[in-house]
Amino acid sequence: MSFINYASREINCKIVYYGPGLGGKTTNLQYIYERTNPQNKGQLISLATETDRTLFFDFLPLDLGSVRGFRTRFHLYTVPGQVFYDASRKLILKGVDGVIFVADSQEARMDANMESLDNLKTNLHENGFDLALVPYALQFNKRDLAGAVPYDVLFRVLNIKSEPTFEAVAPKGVGVFETLKAVAKQVLHELSKK
């Protein structure tokens, strides 16, 4: 649910990073924050526990410049991945324009990936969205780990609608901007239809 202000010629969109706990959602945001010019970003807000687990959300406002005379701002949010924070996750999906699912490539996290993906479908549905229609990109994170599940296997299990899919190593920035760009593109195209 983007916000278009014709008076100040601004457009604001909301993108949510979803996925299992410790999958690297916050790391994606941190990398984007580090690599963005100060004039194009706001503060990175993290509502986290003392052990750096996301408690409610992380938030990063990003200014991407102008399209057709409109300043384009993306508000990036992450959800807490841990299963018992479901109420918070539901709240953050409210009014979302695009979703990025950050999957963990480790074998041991396959169940958690699938559970989180199911949870995404449910929570989108409860907010009145359909995953089949929402701008969406998939990221396989932690590709640098020795025991990473092969791309094809992950793809078969987690890719649901031929959405753009990226391999990533979030702390090094591999695949981070590519994933964001893929979903931003869909969001802007979606706006052009309205």
Binding site: M1, F59, G65, G95
Partner: protein, 164 residues
């Protein structure tokens, strides 16, 4: 919420009216900062001493705060809590819901009082609801929103956003 369609669109005329309401509230309530946020965390308009605060983060956290409180309300069987108040040593924050969709935030210190803020907010909220109704009827009149500024956006336009 559906009365506005999927996206919140604000035009010049309503934007000016909103700004005028906020400016008056800011003065009448003796507030430091007054701002209006969409429930999704987008800042719509603001008035006051904004240079010292990070308005974007304020907007997002306010919306998170309201969303969490809404969740609490539903858990105990309330529809919503329409007013939230945070009291600090110096500054206080008064948060109220306007027209179910917007959040009106007033930050004030000892030069004002909770009573005064509540009184002035009530009046401003009523005026803002009028503007909202006007926006809704405009949206309904025009059927769908007018052509999106992005109607003819190309892949090149989007790629250009990411080149640094």
């Amino acid at each position: 919420m559906t009365m506005f369609g999927p996206n919140l669109v604000v035009y010049e005329e309503e934007f000016e009216r909103i700004n005028a309401v906020l400016a008056r509230l800011w003065m009448d309530a003796n507030a430091k900062i007054v701002f209006l946020v969409d429930k999704n965390g987008q800042q719509i308009a603001a008035k006051g001493d904004l240079e010292k605060v990070d308005a974007t983060s304020l907007a997002s956290l306010t919306a998170g705060n309201v969303a969490a409180t809404d969740g609490l309300a539903r858990l105990i069987g309330e529809k919503e809590f329409t007013i939230l108040f945070h009291e600090g040593e110096r500054d206080n924050i008064h948060i109220s819901i306007v027209g179910q969709r917007l959040i009106l935030v007033v930050i004030f210190d000892e030069r004002s009082s909770l009573g005064l803020v509540r009184l002035r907010v009530r009046k401003a909220a009523a005026e803002l609801e009028e503007v909202l109704t006007q926006m809704a009827s405009k949206a309904a009149e025009e059927g769908q929103a007018p052509a999106s500024p992005f109607a003819e956006i190309t892949d090149e336009d989007i790629d250009a956003l990411f080149t640094e």
